[in-house]
Amino acid sequence: MAHDRKFRFGVQVSSAADAAGWRERAHKIEDLGYSTLFMPDHFIDSPFAPMVGITDAAAATTTLRVGTLVLGNDYKHPAVVAKEAATLDVLSEGRLEFGLGAGWQRTDYDALGLRYDPPGVRVDRLTEAIAVVKGCFTDGPFTFVGEHYTVRDYDAQPKPLQRPHPPILIGGGAPRVLRMAGREADIVGINPNLSSGELDAAVVRSSVAEQTRQKVEWIRDGAGERFDDLELQIRYFFAAITDDARGLAEAVAPGFGLTAAEALESGVALVGSVDECCEILQRRREEWQVSYIVFGDDNFEAFAPVVAGLAGT
């Protein structure tokens, strides 16, 4: 069914000082009109484990959706991940958004002592993992024999509450993974291209407006007729409410090797007054079809007026 492309908003958070602080923030995110609390999946500088953290956030709230943005596929076997996801979907009464990615941050692989395979291999493995996860979510036993995973005659339990399965979110910044996301996902995250394995100048450069447009085309290529059913998402890493967007961009952009104009139009930057930010998001929805907007812990409160103005429209 064609997606309505109405705006909704999420917040990506990764820790709190204690249990009370974590729940208090989940409440705040819910109260401010955000749709979803997302957690990343890293082993360095990202303290809480996502599946546990979002289960707790779901238990502390009533309507807030919870999700992973995104799980690194290489850190856990997809049968384990699917079982955890389905359990969480049942225990949250159907509020899970299941985000899975190929894994990219080299320090995570170093932390686990895992081999850091070339991007192509990681994307192949992710593609197989998506098939395994969908097999687990579907009624009845299934068998999958791939190059990376072999699952035999397995009727995974529990089945998720959302049918046929919780929305599957796949993010990426390179052509292969975005085409695959177009074919397989319900929500597609348009990310920087992270093939260098760390956050460097190339990553920033890969998100300028022209590149973002290109990424949407890759998704469209992969999706074919499905494209209208997809929900497109951007996590804004550089977001600020300010009356002087130009001044801020001029001060910050050179540090990232961009001109001020490039920075302001970047697909990971949202800078301006509340009205300007609303206009930018509306314009980008027209151009890029992106309607699902994610902020971070540092700025979700500042963007509450934007959420109030646009959510559900």
Binding site: F43, I44, P47, F48, V52, A59, V80, T87, A111, L112
Partner: protein, 314 residues
Amino acid sequence: MAHDRKFRFGVQCLRAASAKEFAEQARRAEDLGFSSILFPDHFVDHPLAPMPAMAAAAAVTTTLRVGTCVLGNDYKHPVVLATEAATVDVLSDGRLELGLGAGWMTVDYERAGLPLDPPGVRIARLAEAITVVKGLMADDPFTFHGKHYDIDELDGEPKPVQKPHPPLIVGGGRPKILGLAAREAQIIGINARLTAGTGEHESSTKSLNPASTDEKVQWVREAAGDRFDELELQSLVGFVMETDDVASTAEMMAGAFDTTPEEALDTPVVLVGTIDEMVERLQRRRARWALSYHVVPIEQMETFAPVVARLAGT
């Protein structure tokens, strides 16, 4: 510090029909005076994943401890496991009991396409995983170069609330695994021998009788040395039946456990009789084997509640 060996009780939970039922059951266990809710970790016939189940149970209760009985070490990398476990400990305000096992159920490995190594290899891997989990939960960056895991200068996050780490439950039914448990864990599960790869095998059932239990506790004692007094010994009581006619049940169980009817009634995984008899048997088991932590299926918590009321904390 020596353990007080006071009785406490847990419920083992395998499934939940809905979020509402799950929350009600966890709260009910807490209200009835149970100390913990524990989740096993299997791919087949166990429709709850332990990590989210623990997080959800902790979120709807206030004092109930949450744990695993036990996680299969081979299903997750210990760095992932330690991170998740520590997160549960933080978000439950220090209520985690982390049960770790070597993995044993053949069907889990078959379904997920995981290689099932010989028991010695799985136990060696578990031993390394325990070192990794403890290392990551400690305060400083941790380095470990083992045969199975390779960790370099990793400062585990988050740190658990319980220091130096949440109590570890390690259980088994053979000398090697019980020896590891005795040296490394705080809670020792006196379990069936599971080398056949399924809990339904005859060798597994027979390994539960009192004579075998004597042997297992002796293995723990020998491996623990001076530590033995600090350990808490745990048994799963999978079958609870309140009745004033124990004779016929005892007769039936004697065959399965390969022992006399009287000894069958003292098999740690069953509890049959009136409430008074159950209380008395648990006291005898504590005197004989130091078993003080008993876990019953959550479906039997109401039947068992009068025993909890009489014994918990004594």
